[in-house]
Amino acid sequence: VSDWHAAVRGFPRERTWLLPALHAVGHELRWIPADALREIASHLRVPLSEAYGVVTHYPEFRLEEPRKRVVRVCTGVSCRIRGGLDLLKALQGAAGDDVTLEHFDCAFNCSVAPLVEVDGVHRGRVSVADVSAVISTPPHPALSPSGGEGSAGLLLPSGERVGVRGGSYSELLRHAQSLAQQGPTLVVGVGSCSLAVGVAETLAALREEVARRKWSARIVTAGCGGLCWAAPVVTMLAPDGEARVLIHATADRLPALLDAAAADRHEPDPGVGDFLSHQRRELTASCGLVDPDDIADAIRRGSYAALAGAITGGEPGAVIETAKAAGLRGRGGAYFAAALKWEGARNAAGSPKYLIVNAEEGEPGIFKDRHLMEGDPHRLLEGALLAAYASGATRVYLYIHGEAHLSAARMARAVEDARRWGLVGERILASDFSVDVEIRRGAGGFVLGEETALMESLEGRRAMPRPKPPFPTEAGLFARPTVINNVETLFAVPLIVAHGAAWWSALGQGHGTKCFGLSGHVARPGLVEIEMGATLRDLLERIGGGVPSGRALKGAVLGGPSGIIVPPRDFDEPLLPGGRVNPGTGGVVAIDETVAVRDVVRTLLDFNTRESCGKCTPCREGTARLRDMLDSSGSLDHSAVAELSEVVRVASLCGLGQAAPLSILSALREFPAELR
């Protein structure tokens, strides 16, 4: 018997809880029946028609009951060019009457494409030959089949849960050090990517093998270290620091790999060195090493030291000045100076002040923020606390994508542990600084990438951008001064505060480092961090290892549906904000010579058309008309397409609408022959 009634009644009777209440019902029933919507609306005192307006606005809420099983095939660019459409076709013939078969825009797990989601569980690198077997094989028991909290079952209670509330930082550090264990470690990279390709089975097999061999090694479940292409990855860490990286360590290959390593016959894969040596891993330094569920491990690796230093200094303005001097710019894609937002909110009248962490990563082809949260959640939390300290915010909303279950589970654990350790809540680190942190989940709205739309969503409304001014720093969430920062931006903050502004501005021609999700036709898809000013050739060839088939690259989709398609002749241009090739949000999908640019553009444009929030006319109507032009059978009128694209770009209300036609404009410019 489902208890969604109790769940709904448990929410405070305020509109801001509309999305959480819808999620609660959706989690229990897998869909939102009309009577549940009525009950939610009545409990939260939201007019029913408006609640209906909200529930129909977000793609993740189902208003029709699905069949017993739900199978979804990803047909985003990364998956479709690696066989996603073939999988869909194969399943259309094979799926039984008890299956609701759908395709969706992106699973945000592009590095293990092509991907099929079976009852909420991702299955990556699926081939047409075994797709039927894959959907009929039950997932590992640790992976919740309900699709609710995803892989929360794998979150091992490995860390110390007893806090030292009210202590100073040095007490915390001492306590964390007292919990340290010596001896060899086996680090398993457990991320969304590896979970889709069998790391749960690897983990179970590793536990058996270690027991059977009577090894004293500890097993640590970390996040993904970026080597998604090699997943599952097990790293053997000797006490002297020597590391052996076992790649493609599936359960069946694991015994042989362990035998070889134990007999000193481990042969390191040259791809691992090539993949890592051309990167500059600063933000991601601990990803794949630190146990994301163990706050003591994070503290021993330096987490919260920068926060402690800033609080002891007692000057929020000093944090602002440091970030300003470093030139830290927003990693959501707009590259606006982060410190100016903090300063604006600090100087604005009104209280309370809010900090929102935009972790609603919703642009198909981009998955870097998920990796960061899964890999090193305490670093994000520390960055958010520093930003809150700088801007005078007393409440932090961590707004996480509705389907990023592992990110949300790890962040929730991090926040809970930080609260126990006196790092979140009242009088942080025994100082006068108090801030609370709350996690909210999105519901798949691409438009939530727009800051004011996200604020509307937090208020329980349709995610539609507000006209500016007022700007969020003056009147944002609940009309109070609000700062909104992207996950990756906040990841850089503890490092900048710890190492100083000069350290950051010496990197990447003054722009620091940048994370990219690398996928498509590359040999080594994964999560990459490079200095700004590096080139697409660095990403695609030196790091990504080129096209596995040996075919030539036709181009690279840079920045998802708001991005552009870059031709090979621009692969040596430096990736710099404001430069000729703008790095955008941080997603690169390589397309080889067999891919039709027209299909890529059509996919991106179709997404922009369906996911337009609908508020302003140029974006809502213009993108649909552009899609019609691409779909029409006759020859494409380039000047008409360019003219209408220009209207959408210039006249749309928000940045997402303005960016919607960029992909087709770039294709017209660089690949005119493909758009006949």
């Binding site: 009309a34 919507l37 939201v46 007019p47 029913l48 028609s49 408006e50 609640a51 209906y52 307006g53 129909t56 606005h57 793609p59 709205g445 438009v447 349709r462 539609m464 951008p465 507000r466 006209p467 500016k468 001014p469 058309t609 369906r610 996911e611 337009s612 929030c613 609908g614 508020k615 302003c616 006319t617 140029p618 809502r620 109507e621 213009g622 993108t623 649909a624 008309r625 019609d628 003219e643 209408l644 220009e646 209207v647 210039v650 006249a651 749309s652 209300l653």
Partner: protein, 210 residues
């Protein structure tokens, strides 16, 4: 604050928008989603203007007036883009069934020499005449959001809402049911603010003859 608009000087108080200044001079500029009594929505994108020294074509309804601003409503770029947006808007509507002028949209379209819509209609909605005093005719609706704002923010009723997203967006009530199923009180605020006559009074009944 003194501004220059289309070569004419105008003075407005701090807090005013450029559109306020435009209206003060009685310059004809489309402003389909702007209710004169309410905050700007920024949805219809037809009040685009050119501002000297500023990139792009900002919507004047949510552009704060600044002292010394030089604004052109008749700049060729602004006119061209505004005309294209009006065309997209006009293409949402169908002109048969006695719908012909579309109120403010019709006036703006004819001022911009838009005879026929440049794009084919994409949908067909039946007229919802379930309420006694007015109709909801989605074939004349440009989704500006004035009616839903009036219902929610002004009357605090919330009988109607914007529903769906993207190109499927529509004005309606819970469950996409008829207006009469909603909590609408027929207050008339939505009808009063609708710029195109999508929400319009029913014909006055003939006087009763004894």
């Amino acid at each position: 604050m003194k501004l220059t608009i289309d070569g004419r000087g105008v003075e407005v108080l701090p807090g005013a928008t450029v559109l306020d200044a435009v209206n003060r001079l009685d310059i004809e500029l489309p402003q389909l989603c702007k209710d004169p009594d309410r905050a700007p929505l920024g949805a219809c994108r037809t009040c685009l203007v050119h501002v000297e020294g500023q990139r792009g074509l900002p919507a004047s309804c949510h552009l704060p007036a600044r002292d010394g601003m030089v604004v052109q409503t008749t700049h060729p770029d602004a006119v061209k883009t505004r005309r294209a947006v009006l065309d997209l808007t006009r293409s949402m509507l169908s002109a048969d069934d006695g719908r012909d002028d579309f109120g403010q949209l019709g006036e703006a379209a004819s001022r911009h020499a838009l005879a026929a819509p440049g794009h084919a209609a994409k949908h067909r909605f039946p007229v919802d005449a379930s309420k006694s005093f007015f109709v909801l005719d989605r074939e004349a609706c440009i989704l500006c959001g004035r009616c839903t704002t009036a219902c929610d923010d002004v009357q605090l009723i919330g009988a109607i809402s914007l529903i769906g997203r993207g190109h499927d967006m529509r004005v309606g009530v819970a469950g996409d049911a008829l207006m009469s199923s909603s909590i609408c009180t027929s207050c008339g605020q939505c009808v009063a603010t609708c710029p195109t006559g999508a929400l319009r009074p029913k014909e006055t009944p003939a006087p009763i003859t004894r």
